[in-house]
Symmetry: C2
Subunit: 499 residues, 2 copies
Amino acid sequence: MGANYDALLAHLKEITNINNAISLLAYDQETSMPPGGSAARAQQLATLSKLGHEMFTSSQTNDLLGAAAEEISGADYDSDEASMVRVVQQDYDLATKLPSSFVARMAEETSLGQKTWAKARENSDFQAFLPALERIIGMMQEQADLLGYDEHPYDALLSQYERGMTTAQVKSIFDAHRPKLVDLIAQVGDAQQVDDSMLKLNFDRDTQREFALWAVKSFGFDFERGGQAEAVHPFCTNFSVNDVRITTRFNDNWLNPALFGMMHEAGHGMYEQGIGQNLEGTPLAGGTSLGVHESQSRMWENIVGRSKGFWSWAMPKLKDAFPQLGQVTLDDFYKAINKVERSFIRVEADEATYNLHIILRFELEQELLTGAVKVADVRDAWNDRFNAFFGLTPPDDANGVLQDIHWSAGLFGYFATYALGNLLSVQYYNQVLKDHPSIPDEIAQGKFDTLLTWLNTNIHQHGRKFTGTELTRRVTGEDIQSDSYIAYLTDKFNGVYGL
Amino acid sequence: MGANYDALLAHLKEITNINNAISLLAYDQETSMPPGGSAARAQQLATLSKLGHEMFTSSQTNDLLGAAAEEISGADYDSDEASMVRVVQQDYDLATKLPSSFVARMAEETSLGQKTWAKARENSDFQAFLPALERIIGMMQEQADLLGYDEHPYDALLSQYERGMTTAQVKSIFDAHRPKLVDLIAQVGDAQQVDDSMLKLNFDRDTQREFALWAVKSFGFDFERGGQAEAVHPFCTNFSVNDVRITTRFNDNWLNPALFGMMHEAGHGMYEQGIGQNLEGTPLAGGTSLGVHESQSRMWENIVGRSKGFWSWAMPKLKDAFPQLGQVTLDDFYKAINKVERSFIRVEADEATYNLHIILRFELEQELLTGAVKVADVRDAWNDRFNAFFGLTPPDDANGVLQDIHWSAGLFGYFATYALGNLLSVQYYNQVLKDHPSIPDEIAQGKFDTLLTWLNTNIHQHGRKFTGTELTRRVTGEDIQSDSYIAYLTDKFNGVYGL
């Protein structure tokens, strides 16, 4: 393009390089750093974050954006250039809405908040966390005001993670979704229960790693452009489109965390690896929203990884790796990995119960933000609502309101994206099936390239060019909805539980 | 202290944070990064290096140094404050002597040079490397002029790695050292040779790792403030006094690389871990020179790790780990790990031959710099001199002039520090023995804390406060010399070879 656009790009690439270095500092912290390193690491992160933030929110960025916008005026909406200027201008407007004094205060409050929360959860003592939570929710209200919104203060928080999505939209989807989930879970509860004891034998850790690596390599995660390491709380991160790291937690006596966890993170990872090389090193090289990101991880983990087809292909290999599973039938294994169980802890939830955990949080977050629920009352509100949704009451705060780190970290508006990801995973997959009806057969033969190529072409390559809403419309011709997900669940659990 | 000194320190700590992030980017590159990540990593390193360099060479640094110097005038030479201002002013003067255009040209030339060298070495083809080497040596001459020197242009290059040391000093040490080494090696060559075949059996990699980790943990390398990973070319790096990483190369059929390599890197690592917490996060938190650094790695690797006392204690544990060594006697094992062999490759050289490899390079580097040897003739000069020193002629360029990466990377003046490290290791150790004659007995009982504490107190804690020369005088009351090392070698190899 022209000189102005090139100057913008050079500036943005420097900032992206700093941000990628920050990601590496964080990755190393979770995977390799010895305990002694934490104080220095916090300093390093602070210095680089400050530098990157200063460079991005400088008036230079705005000037470069303005000059580039003029130069490329008339370029296609879809073009790299128009997308770069459009999306980065939105990022800039968002980033400059929060004064650095507010950002610093928030960093301090949430850093302290996370420590307080960890201790409170350990002691299962909500009261110990309450003062910190009150301060954080006060700051969330302030943040919503600073960011601005049309209808609901929660809109401002939500759209940080799902650009352009409104509370009303999500609420209408979840309101329709919730009773159907409650009903499905009740039906499953009345059915003959599933035995998953074969997943809870002793499994050698190295063999678990080897098998899970084989699985995600088969999917198409590219280890020439990626790596895998251990972490207590698994995640996926990247420092380039060509350098994507996934992490795994191993449990010696349970197959699921490493196996399905690796598939999940590889789903995130293949999204990042699939982003167009034309966007490499720029702010557009990343997943477009948390919901769309989660749709990719859930598709590979659940729709592919928990399908009977996949295991009809992978079962012999699994039995080679773990002779203790020699007598297990495909049918029993399939049922075991799809067992539905009402439990207190979100991160352990299955496909059927997961979204219900999310909806509970989504509702409470709005009520906390507007003051409809007082912070002091949120523990009781949580327990009451949990009972209404699941027919169970959390035995203590650690199994209830204190279980997640998010609120202590100031991540309001974040939870919803997990459920949106589940919904989108099925919507996208249904679209793949329309384009390639043979995909389930291919999966049963250990062939995943048609699926991955479709995802690369239709979703991954665009990076952050389009919002999640725009992308979903382009790909499926419709908006996000929950009917397809309910149909998918009903069909699947009819099979597993003979409903 | 006062406000000016505090302002200087805050500025320096930001720069140090950037430099530590750079070290992590480099560490990850060598230990975890997939091949695909290299292009992006180069960009990230370039951005952070540029930022750090700009911040350090800015006039702000000079102004802060000046204001702080005034504020602390009269502070003890040894104090943190006086040392900070003195050493950082030297760093600043050095860093600002090279214009950024020169630094950029050098980065480009050496990046290209390393690629050309790698290919040339692969094909054992010196002529293919010659044009690049000519350009690099031209730049070395330029660099010496830019940095400035009193007597010899080589002084300027050498003192980048050994502050304040001159070519004449090193030359006089090496000139005395060389004939004694040649003589010793010839004597060993005439003696009954040593069998080291028991070191070249098949050794399980995980067991190698476990045993070597046990050894360096016993030495006192602190894994609460450090870690270990695999790398093709082992090294030690750190991102804090409290976060020191060592790396290891494993050979399934040879015990030495992982075992003695881990001891060597842990020696470097304990130096970094021993630096005073008062210097943490500042430019003084680091080893003072490459020679002093190497003295620490060589002391733990050779003087401790290759001693009979150490193995009288560690041998039962080694036999537990590797039952295939069950019949090996302590005496035979001790001889095997101290085998002397004239070989072409420096990095494989033993304690007796190592320094001779270095002296050869030290002489050639000066001759190249002054033009006494033409670059086109350096291969022949290398081979002739190698024959004069070792009585052998390299069979090809890969085993001769092309074996090391250093010249292609513009690292002239660097090699000498390896030999200086060997000399210093014995000088320091002799001083420890004067203070604590019981140390050899303690080592034979697996006790290393008296030694490590002595090193912490006398050497490590000072970081970069004193130059290597200053430190050696403080610690031993003398200057660096080669007599002690020759006496150590003679004594040791009398024992091994019955000279």
